[in-house]
């Protein structure tokens, strides 16, 4: 199985690239081959502290896990990574003479929050796909010009600004496992999968509900500059809200070598 991947990302208008708090994996365009290919996007919550780093840890935990997409297994990988990274960060602040300020302490205690949307494409003895999602980052599967799958949200009304997210502080994850969405399906050569964070996903679902084919506009964005210009227009027309935007476009190759 071979998959061509394209990645588009940009920070919220007015923010710098360093302030971008979404995450995605793999982190570059290219052709990926193998019997199990894993992809993920995540959206760190703006009200959390260090949420961008937590989102990075989650997408890596998903994509580096082997033969499991179960949330407890993913958390078992991600939480120790977070603890190590946070300790390193706090040590660095101390060494740099920038101790934690009083206004950072409550946020650091509460921890970071992020969505996670992971997709695994499988070939060989057990072909198909499976996805794991928590929060409002979404996956859409398009085959022969028609939407086949929308998950975990397929209703534009269901997007809000108060999703239940994955917390880096385990004490805040009560009820998380019951909220995880798992889905499975099949794929065919030529299928396209779109993984995206909520600003674009909300627009995508709304367009589908109106009978449109939003992937046509996505396909027209051939490079990052075109993508930036297109999303700037959507923002100006208030079709999408100003937020970090991440889009991972995957196309299953027609010709299997």
């Amino acid at each position: 199985m071979q998959v061509h991947a394209r990645v588009f990302w940009l920070p919220k208008t007015g923010n710098t690239a360093e302030e971008y708090e979404d995450a995605f994996y793999p982190n570059r365009d290219g052709d990926y081959g193998g019997t199990q290919l894993r992809f993920a996007v995540a959206d760190g919550a703006s009200e959390g502290m260090l949420s961008g780093q937590w989102a990075q840890i989650l997408v890596r935990a998903y994509c580096r896990a082997i033969n499991t997409s179960q949330m407890p297994d993913l958390l078992a990988r991600a939480l120790p990574s977070w603890r190590d990274w946070k300790q390193h960060y706090l040590d660095l602040r101390e060494r740099q003479g920038r101790p934690v300020m009083w206004f950072e302490e409550p946020g650091l205690e509460k921890g970071a929050f992020s969505t996670l949307l992971g997709l695994t494409l499988r070939d060989g003895d057990d072909p198909g796909w499976n996805a794991t999602a928590l929060g409002d980052s979404c996956m859409f599967q398009v085959r022969a010009g028609a939407l086949v799958t929308a998950m975990p949200i397929d209703d534009a009304e269901a997007f809000g600004s108060r999703p239940f997210l994955i917390a880096s502080n385990p004490a805040r994850n009560n009820g998380l496992l019951e909220r995880v969405h798992y889905a499975t399906g099949d794929w065919q050569p030529g299928d396209r999968f779109y993984l995206m964070t909520d600003a674009l996903a909300h627009w995508f679902v709304r367009e589908c509900e109106a009978g449109a084919t939003p992937w046509t506009a996505i396909l027209a964005a051939e490079d990052p500059d075109a993508f930036d210009a297109w999303t700037a227009t959507l923002k100006r027309e208030h079709q999408i809200r100003n937020d970090d935007i991440t889009l991972l476009c995957l196309e299953v190759a027609e010709d299997v070598p």
Binding site: A45, E47, W102, F103, S161, L165, A171
Partner: protein, 279 residues
């Protein structure tokens, strides 16, 4: 639709606090701790409001200037009431508020120990204001000053999320009825809607605390009714968040609180994704 403007560093909004520093604030507050004066309640409320607003705007790399903040005291005098390095300033970016409290105290609070019990934890408590109780209650003058400050802000920020004014008082104005002046203040607007005026009423009256009522029935006295009448209804988006946070907010609920916590108003502000498991 009103109250939809994005609050950002390039399009910040404004908070203006009006704090009653009159002699009547030396009277006892509510029915609880008899030693606590209304002036202590005011200082506690304004310090906690500022602390929570700063924390709301804090990221790991610093405090983002989503808001500019001012405090006008009214009692013996009417004017800017920041103490310490911010003394004399009318409106300052929230990052300066964060960096320049008069002092930082340490207090203890009870926190969950993760095993079903509670333990004491030391937390830093920044202080910008100490209790003051001196002179009359020139609330009308304070509202006139607020109108002047907000008019200037709106000239410079015509498309901002509408400024929020929070008045903390016992409601016993000594320079005439403030109602018409509060109405004039609420008539100011940005392109996103009218200025919001909220009131925290700290009273010596022995009556139950009330948060965000939608009608004046049950309010203890004429002072409470006056401040309730001066208060703006919560915009729909704030009411939605308040309901999600577990507050009982009927349609028409106003930004009025009687002898209770008003700091929750900070949680009703929308500056981005707030996870439902972050309380």
């Amino acid at each position: 639709m009103a109250y939809q403007a994005e609050i950002s560093r390039s399009n910040p909004s404004c908070f203006l606090f009006l704090i009653d520093q009159s002699a009547s604030m030396a009277d006892p507050f509510g029915t609880g701790d008899a030693k606590k004066k209304k002036a202590d309640g005011v200082a506690d409320a304004i310090n906690r409001l500022l602390q929570n607003l700063v924390i709301k705007c804090a990221k790991a790399e610093g405090v983002r200037d989503y808001y500019h903040v001012g405090v006008i005291g009214y009692g013996k005098d009417v004017g800017p009431a920041f103490s310490g390095p911010l003394a004399g300033k009318t409106l300052v970016p929230i990052s300066e508020v964060a960096e320049m409290p008069a002092r930082i105290e340490e207090r203890t609070k009870k926190v969950d120990d993760g095993a079903g019990g509670l333990v004491d934890q030391t937390v830093k408590f920044p202080v910008w204001f100490d209790p003051v109780a001196n002179g009359g209650t020139p609330m009308s003058q304070a509202l006139m000053r607020a109108t002047s400050v907000i008019r200037g802000w709106l000239t410079d920020h015509p498309d901002c999320f509408p400024p929020i004014i929070i008045n903390i008082s016992d409601g016993e104005a000594t320079d005439g009825s403030p109602s018409a002046l509060a109405d004039a203040l609420k008539k100011l607007s940005s392109s996103d809607g009218g200025v919001l005026v909220f009131n925290l009423h700290l009273s010596s009256t022995d009556a139950s605390p009330i948060q965000f009522p939608a009608h004046e029935e049950g309010l203890a006295d004429k002072h409470a009714k006056l401040l309730y009448a001066m208060s703006s209804p919560l915009p729909d988006y704030m009411r939605t968040i308040a309901a999600q946070e577990g507050f009982n907010v009927d349609e028409g609920a106003r930004g009025f609180v009687f002898n209770a916590d008003i700091v929750s108003v900070i949680q009703f502000l929308d500056i981005g994704t707030r996870p439902s498991n972050l309380r």
